[in-house]
């Protein structure tokens, strides 16, 4: 089997990857082919949200997505999130609130939240945002600081 090349825009940069097996998960492509280790593998079964990235601006579990299924898409990982005003605002809110303990879940939380803000806009309520972050787990249970970061977000475009 000779898979066709995989074309992606990764954090704004065009990439063409040869030899990506058809069965490869996007998570593994990101971590092991692109070397972007900020995207974390947690459960590998869609329960923890640690591997969340943006695919064409939409939050997606990279562990449950085949890389070739998103051929041609634009990816945003935690390494590129601050290139965009929404991402910068969210990472700054997390930093100010100290919204991390071990940090393993943080990239997934940040990308999931950036995705929600892109979907819902800045007027989304704190309750609504927290409810829709329920697919992301923090095993340190540092949720209070994360909730404070969400509550401290601006309510209009910064």
């Amino acid at each position: 089997m000779t898979p066709s090349p995989l074309t992606l825009t990764v954090n704004g940069r065009g990439r063409a990857l040869d030899g990506v097996p058809d069965s490869e998960r996007l998570l593994d492509t990101i971590r092991w082919r692109l070397g972007l280790k900020g995207t974390k593998e947690g459960c590998r079964s869609g329960e923890c949200g640690a591997c969340t990235v943006l695919v064409d601006g939409v939050s997606t579990l990279s562990c449950l997505t085949l890389a070739h299924e998103v051929d041609g898409a634009s990816l945003t990982t935690i390494e590129g999130v601050a290139d965009d005003p929404v991402g910068r605002t969210v990472t700054e809110a997390f930093a100010r609130a100290g919204a991390l303990q071990c940090g393993y879940c943080t990239p997934g939380f940040v990308l999931a939240l950036v995705g929600l803000l892109k979907e819902r806009g800045w007027a989304a309520s704190t309750d609504e945002l927290l409810q829709d972050l329920s697919g992301n787990l923090c095993r340190c249970t540092g949720y209070l600081a994360i909730a404070r970061a969400v509550a401290a977000l601006p309510r209009e475009a910064p």
Binding site: M1, S23, G49, V58, L66, A112, S134
Partner: protein
């Protein structure tokens, strides 16, 4: 190690059906959103030669034709959840969709995938039963439709033919409806039991369905027959709920005991029927 397979991405329905019809049965698995399938593909027991992706088929659709809602099989659940009209006219469907995983998962998971995979713990199948949804299939001999109750055969088993695909799911009419579930950890667990309840405005009859227990989501006809009025009184409702709890083939497993599940079925059914009665009175 995950299996090695060839990913096939047909550009048309005809090409997809033709691809499915080639090779030995079991050689090929169908990929919609993949959120359930990919989990299985990590297991050495699941080793397809080909995985057929539906992503290029024109089935990411949501259409209203009068009262009839048709949902294309590859529409992400998140799009269904974000549709105002679905929320207003099928409240139980919205509640069930929001019970599936988190938002990033619902951006890929699909109604067609959920039906095709037929997990006993599916959060969507009970409400499809309560809403009398129909499954539209397409295959080498053309199109056909089956009520969800006939489409579901057992745990992970459906009546789909070897070269058939789920094209869409049709909901015949808006109904006051509710979906309630119980879990140990609300956001990260499989439901120990779930109930879907709907009342048809056209025939005035209740539909009760249960999920979260093997082998498959099921209607509760004996209990349905006990509910006659639009707003059942306490005694009528209690009798129907207890009958449902007694009749079910419930077993204990690591997620809940049999006794607790029987208690939950009755309690959740009562609560869901009251919710639907109240919403119908509220003039929704």
């Amino acid at each position: 190690m995950p299996a090695s397979f060839t990913l096939v991405t047909p550009p048309s329905v005809e090409a997809a059906v033709a691809e499915l019809a080639t090779g030995a049965p079991g050689d090929v698995l169908v990929l919609a959103g993949g959120t359930d399938l990919l989990f299985d593909l990590d297991s050495p027991r699941v080793a397809p030669k080909r995985v057929l992706s539906l992503r290029r088929l024109p089935w990411r659709t949501l259409d209203w034709n009068g009262p009839v809602l048709t949902v294309g099989s590859t529409l992400p659940l998140r799009a269904l959840e974000e549709d105002r009209e679905v929320a207003d006219r099928h409240p139980g469907l919205l509640q069930a969709v929001r019970a599936v995983g988190g938002v990033p998962l619902r951006h890929r998971a699909t109604l067609g995938g959920n039906l095709g995979r037929a997990a006993p713990a599916s959060d969507l199948l009970p409400v499809l039963l309560a809403l009398d949804a129909e499954v539209d299939l397409v295959g080498p001999n053309g199109a056909r439709s089956l009520p969800v109750d006939r489409f579901l055969v057992g745990s992970r088993r459906t009546a789909i033919g070897p070269a058939e695909l789920i094209r869409s799911v049709r909901f015949p009419e808006p109904r006051p409806s509710a979906y309630l579930w119980q879990r140990v950890r609300p956001e990260h667990d499989i439901s120990q039991i779930a109930v879907a309840v709907a009342r048809s405005p056209s025939d005035g009859r209740w539909r009760l369905a249960v999920g979260g227990i093997p082998p498959r989501a099921a209607r509760l006809p004996e209990a349905e027959a006990r509910l006659s009025s639009q707003a059942p009184g306490d005694a009528e409702l209690r009798a129907a709920a207890e009958l449902a709890a007694q009749k079910l083939p419930i077993a204990a497993d690591r997620r809940a005991s049999e006794e607790y599940r029987r208690h939950l079925v009755a309690t959740l059914l009562e609560r869901a029927v009251r919710t639907v009665s109240a919403s119908a009175n509220g003039g929704r």
